[in-house]
Every structure is written in structure tokens, then in C-alpha cells.
Symmetry: C2
DNA sequence: CAGTGGTCTAGACCACATC
DNA sequence: ATGTGGTCTAGACCACTGG
């Protein structure tokens, strides 16, 4: 367990004390200063260090636990949690896990890759700023040997420089990014489109067949991380979610 | 403001006290015993009535407020909130509001209606139990005079008997249900389909054009309320959601 | 056994909005 | 002015679990 005593839990004086404590610890986690598995100081230590009562410290930690940033256990203490793999309905979901969850064999292939400054077609498709350095990849994921989903992705090399030297043979880039980067914000869009001739060929469809297009962009603290377009054959895929009106259940 | 002193906030003795209080009040709200606008007793009253300390009562109420079931204001007190109109990404959303939010004129038309025992085609399409009493409606919603979305809906008359005598001329059934029924669970599915000849005709598309199909079923405490299939022309619609990994922001 | 988090209390002071 | 919720404290006891 990593030592955390070096890191200052710095309060900013704005808002309630419990919320200052919550945000201070949250920032240490999402900035990467406290990676998953790091031990969070016990309540009594935070009490003394921050001059707050235990209930106030507790309130901050309970909220962080409810948000899933930390895991708490009696006696063994509090540690930084691993980022969740999936989200309510749309999901920063590992495609290998998605396929294997269906009981099928998973495989993938990188069809194309180009690194460098974004070109105008990429800028338009992914709403990029001009002249950003990206890795641009096209991949096909398959399940039991049949095409499952076509992926087109850009990775922002300024945010994730290690991606430049990764060849994505052991693991598709979505999974690699889950392990080698952090995201704090995501935007999803879903729409129905007709498969182009090229897309249809790769997915084993007829041209014009309906497909579900999932577009996702993620950021870490305002810095763009990646943007991806996933094209699923429509007749074979549904996205399902269950929840109640006051939050997911 | 409705009087709440008649209703017992009944604790069940299982789990922490603050959670018993939270569930007791939540049950009064979702059961309809305390409709929106009802005044929740102030903390000091609940303290005395339940024999709990103020912090414990407060903790229960804070959580209910965070879940959106109640609204709290200093001095004026706590009231039961109106059910939220929309949800993170898929949304129990009013279609009129959706259209007007785009700055367009809204109109709708009931194309067909039949009440009675579910037929086999309906049972299959909506995964109904056999021989349930339903109202079955088909509607077309339009924006600025152009077709916007095609709706096919069943309403469970055992759960919502008032729907049998409602003609849905003033308001489409989705909006009417938001006002005349409660839901505690929903299931959404989204997929891409090709428009049939009939659907294409109604939506002003060519046969086979890709459409986004949103299927939704809702329940109130295990009792089915309604099921709906919304068919959106794919080239004109996207569903967008934004969130962080640890919950919506 | 001892260290951790989980719950609960009694009381205090403050902030705010309505009366 | 007063009633409401919002925050915070100091202390207590309990439940769980690893050493």
C-alpha cells in the first residue's frame, strides 16, 4: 500500500468543511496522485491533520465511498478504488468483456493506424481542435469469428503520450486507455445510420443496413483523452438499461 | 399544503435507524400517500415522533433530498418533490417538451386506438403477460408540421384504470401518464432498425431507412404501467448524455 | 486484542427566508 | 422576529476483522 503521508490534503476554505475535505481527497485521486490501491489515512489521522471532528471527516469519506472513489472496510481501512469499468447504460466498457460476457470468443485486428497532426476529415468527424497531435486507429472487433463492431478512434497524444509507442497488439486501445489513463468526463451520443459500402463490407452487411452508431469522447480535467465511433450492426445489438426515476437501482 | 400528521412514518427495525427513517418516508412518497407538494414534518417533529436525534433524522432527509424525492428550504420547510421529468440520458421525457426545446412547434395525432385484452402480436412486441387488459395506441408526433417520432404504446388498465376513459386529445398519453401515474422502475432498450413500408410512409422516409428504436417499459412497485416503442428517423436524431465515471455530473 | 469504520446522541451556532 | 434547515463538535458505544 502506497504511503500517503507526503501528500497534503489541502483545503480551500470555500463551502462547508466536509465538502472541502471531500473535494481535497477527490482531487488527489482523480489527479492520479493517489492511484488505485493507495491507502487513505484513517479518520482519526485526518481529524488531527485537518482539525475537524470525526463526524465531519466521516461525512466526507462516506460520500466519496458512495461515489465509488474509495473502498472502506473496518479494521483494514480505506483505500482508493479502481475506476468502475462500466456505467449505467453507456459504459466505458471493455469490448473484450462485452463479447466474452455473451459467451463468445473475442478477437480484434487493427486495420489502420496513422499518427500525427489531425487532418480535416478527422477534425470534422471527431470535433477536434485544429493541429492537435493524435493517433488515429481503425479496428474491427469480432465475436466467434464474426464481425462484432467497427471502431474508429483518435487518441490525444498530448494527454496520453505513451500511446505513441504502444502498438495495440496485446490489447485494443479502449482497454489500454482504461489502464493507462484517467477520465473524469465523458460524452456519449447514439444515433442510427446506414452502413456505407466500406463499413458494410467489413461488418458483413449489405450496404444501407441500419447500424447503431455510438460516439464517445472523454476528458480528464478539461484535457481531451480520446474520441471513438463504434458502429454496431443494428439487427444484432440492443443497449438495455434499467433504473428508477430517482437514480439507478 | 396537505396535512401529513395522519400518516404514520413506520419503522421496520431492520438496518440503521437513519435508513429506516429514509425508507419509511420514501415508501410514503412512492406509494402516493404523500403526493408532490405534501409537507414533510420538520426535523424536530420527526425527532420527537420517532425518538431519534436530530442528526439522525437529518441524515435521512438529506439523502432523500439528494435522491430528488424531497425539496428542502430553510424556513419554509421540506416538501415532496415532483417526479423528475427526465433522466440522465434516456429520459422519461415529455415529447412535447422535447420538440419545444428544439424551438419547434409541436402537434400530435392519435392514429389508432383499441382497448381490451392484449392480442398475440401485442403480447410479443411488448412482452406482455397473456390476457392483460390494455389500451393500445398508435400516435404520430410532429415538429413544425414534419413527422418527428412514431409512437406505439400499451397502457396497463389494471394499473391505470383512468386511462380507459381518457381520450388523449388534450395531451399525448406519455404526458398524461406522467401526471396520472407513478413509476418506480423503468427499462430502456435502444436499437437501430430499418423502417417498414408503413412506418416509412408515416415518417416521410424511404422504406429501409435507418431509424432509432427506443423501447421503454415502466413499473410501479412490480405492477406494469406502460410500454412504448418510439421510432425516430435516424438521420435526424441523436441522443446525447454527459457524465463522469463516478456518477452523473 | 486492538484498530478501524458505522452509528447515534445532545447540544450548539449559524444562515436563510418568510412573517 | 422566528422557525426552518445546514453544519459542526465531543464523546460514546458498537461491529467487524486482521494480527
Amino acid at each position: 500500500m502506497t504511503d500517503t503521508t507526503q501528500d497534503a490534503v489541502a483545503l480551500d476554505g470555500v463551502g462547508p468543511l466536509y465538502d472541502q475535505i471531500r473535494r481535497a481527497i477527490r482531487d488527489l485521486i482523480v489527479s492520479g496522485a493517489w492511484p488505485p490501491g493507495t491507502g487513505v489515512p484513517p479518520e482519526h489521522a485526518l481529524m488531527e491533520r485537518l482539525g475537524a471532528s470525526r463526524m465531519t471527516v466521516h461525512r466526507a469519506l462516506v460520500q466519496l465511498a458512495r461515489e465509488g472513489l474509495i473502498t472502506r472496510r473496518r479494521r483494514s481501512g480505506t483505500i482508493v478504488a479502481s475506476p468502475p469499468a462500466s456505467h449505467t447504460m453507456f459504459d466505458i466498457l471493455s469490448i473484450p468483456d462485452e463479447v466474452r460476457g455473451l459467451g463468445q470468443d473475442y478477437a480484434f485486428r487493427v486495420l489502420e493506424r496513422r499518427d500525427g497532426k489531425a487532418r480535416s476529415a478527422e477534425i470534422a468527424r471527431f470535433e477536434l481542435g485544429s493541429a492537435v497531435e493524435i493517433a488515429h486507429l481503425t479496428l474491427l472487433h469480432s465475436a466467434d469469428g464474426a464481425p462484432h463492431v467497427l471502431e474508429e478512434r483518435v487518441i490525444h497524444l498530448a494527454t496520453v503520450p505513451d500511446a505513441a509507442t504502444e502498438d495495440f497488439t496485446a490489447m485494443p486501445p479502449g482497454d489500454w486507455l482504461l489502464r493507462h489513463s484517467l477520465w473524469t468526463q465523458a460524452e456519449h451520443a447514439i444515433s442510427a445510420v446506414a452502413a456505407s459500402a466500406t463499413q458494410a463490407g467489413l461488418l458483413g452487411l449489405a450496404e444501407g443496413e441500419p447500424c447503431l452508431l455510438v460516439e464517445r469522447r472523454t476528458w480528464n480535467q478539461e484535457r481531451p483523452v480520446t474520441a471513438v465511433r463504434l458502429l454496431y450492426p443494428g439487427h444484432r445489438h440492443r443497449f438495455v438499461g434499467r433504473f428508477g426515476p430517482y437514480g439507478n437501482v
